[in-house]
Structure formats: structure tokens, C-alpha cells
Symmetry: C2
Subunit: 176 residues, 2 copies
């Protein structure tokens, strides 16, 4: 089964971006690499804001199928991405009809909430930088039922970056 | 200098308690101990809600000086604790007039915000449990300037508990 992996960088107080979308507080450590992760995914899903920030930062699209959630932009394929308004459940079902690798859920906020509500997140990969920014777009904005996870990996990198990997623990009881 | 150490358990989405104050989602791992930490502190500061939850859970006070922030209860010493409305800066100045060990800041929310605004937090010790609870009292509610930290320790314990220790990094620039 192709897993849905929410993988993002966050501040220590849980923000994926500043209020205006800026992600200048995030950094990569020279001893940290996402190459192994990239080998495990072949599809990405993001929100419209993350898409626009990626474009601004010089990101290009089209090398792998990329779905962008937007209520304001019309659905359909344009500029190397597929704009969508499908429910997470339906979109994931569609993507999973084809065999492939894992699906990278890239972003947080409202999109993470909808995926958590539908219990569609199989793994969490969090890169946590050691700064409290005090305001921004939260990775986990609340408004979803309690979800338990199991820790798969916890590593420290230079400049205080930590990398946490969790997988969804769905068997611990009715509340999970 | 007696350090101020904010040390608490939190959910993976950054809550110190459920909306009603319950902390049933927190747990201790059998391979994790706070004994070494307790040896380093001799004073504690908490908010009124944390105080009341501690009382409900059978906590007793009086063995070490305990300050409880409350706007609703009159200031003064009663039942083994000292109720206070002092500014964090003034309270910390008072406590530091006596020599002693570190000061345990126990709690989050509004109190953590006020201490972060005054830049009085020297260390963060976070015990993070692997569950998203989706709603509650946030450790870091925002409303304070950006604060950078340096990672001191990152350890994993049984049942997926992780223990993170950071110290305030005050020398990286004017924004810090």
C-alpha cells in the first residue's frame, strides 16, 4: 500500500511558515539529507500557499505528479501540477489506483487537518529547528480527533536540527 | 546564576493539557526518570490551573518554595504555596536575591508567553509523547518575539517518549 507521509520542517513551536508564508527560519544541516526520502516517494500533495512559496523559492514542477489543493483556482492540470478540490479520501483513492511509491503530503494547516480527520496520514517526518517564532501557520491546527503514533526514528543533526519519524498506531483502542 | 528551566510534558502537537486541564495523555516511560532534574531545582513557579490539576492528582506543596500565578486569588502565602501577581521579571529578581538551585517553570500557555516576552527562559526541557490530541492548552501560545535555542540533549525512551533539552541562544543577532 502506498503510504501517505506528511514530511515538513517546523519551528520548535510547531509552525510550518510565518504568518506571510515565509520559511526563512527553516534550515538544512550539512549532515542531514533528504535524498533517501526522495527515493521513497513519487507523488506530492500540497496546499496552494505551499505551492506559491515553492514557486517563489524557484521550485519547478512536473517531474512527479503534484496535486495542489485550492478552493480559489479552477481544478485541472496546468503548469506541471494538478489543481484539485477533491476530498482527501477520494484523491488518495484515485492516486492509489495506480501502483507506485509513497505519497508526500507537503504542508500543514488546513490540509493537514483534513487528512488527519480522514485518518489518512500513515507517517509523520518532522524536521524541527531550535527556534520559537511565536506566530505563523501551525502544522497541526487542531480540529481533528486524537491520533496516536509510534516513534520510528529520532536523530539529531548539526545546528540543533532534529529529525523525528513516526508511524500511525491504529490498533491501541477505539479512541485512536 | 540560578537558571529558569521550563520543563513540561507535551503532546506531539504541543499541548500541555486538554481543554479542561486533563493530562491523561501524558505518560512516563519506565526507562525515563526525572530524579536528576529534581536535584537541580529548589523552587517552582506555575500557573493557577497547573496548581489545581496538581492538587487533584494528589500533589502536595511546601517542600520547596512554590509560586502560583493567579489573577483571581489574592496574593500571599497559603497552603504551602505563594500566590503572586508579580511580573515575571520582578518575581525572578526576588527569587534570585537568595542563592540556590535552578527554578522550575512548570506550565505553559499564558505564563510561558509572559516569561518568553521577558526573555527569562534559560532552558527548555520537553518530554514529547507520540500523540496528536487536536485541542488543548498550548505550551507556546504565541505572542512573544522570536527566541532561538541550542539543542543540548535529545533522547528516545520506551513507548516513543522523547526528551529534548535546549538552552537559550542569546548571541546570534539582534532578532534573537
Amino acid at each position: 500500500m502506498r503510504k501517505i507521509v506528511l514530511a515538513v520542517g517546523i519551528s520548535l513551536d510547531g509552525y510550518i511558515a510565518r504568518p506571510d508564508g515565509a520559511v526563512d527560519f527553516l534550515f538544512m544541516s550539512k549532515d542531514f539529507s533528504m535524498e533517501d526520502f526522495f527515493k521513497t516517494i513519487d507523488t506530492e500533495i500540497m496546499g496552494r500557499k505551499t505551492y506559491e512559496v515553492s514557486l517563489k523559492l524557484g521550485g519547478t514542477f512536473g517531474s512527479i505528479p503534484t496535486y495542489v489543493y485550492s478552493n480559489s483556482l479552477p481544478p485541472g492540470e496546468r503548469s506541471g501540477v494538478i489543481f484539485t478540490r477533491e476530498s482527501p479520501a477520494r484523491l488518495v483513492e484515485q492516486i492509489r489506483q495506480k501502483k507506485g511509491k509513497n505519497i508526500w503530503l507537503m504542508g500543514g494547516g488546513q490540509m493537514a487537518r483534513e487528512f488527519l480527520k480522514a485518518d489518512l496520514i500513515d507517517e509523520l517526518h518532522l524536521g524541527v529547528v531550535p527556534v520559537l517564532i511565536g506566530a505563523g501557520i501551525p502544522l497541526f491546527p487542531g480540529g481533528f480527533p486524537e491520533r496516536s503514533f509510534a516513534l520510528m526514528e529520532n536523530k539529531s543533526y548539526s545546528k540543533g536540527l532534529i529529525s523525528l519519524k513516526y508511524r500511525r498506531a491504529r490498533s491501541r483502542g477505539p479512541r485512536d
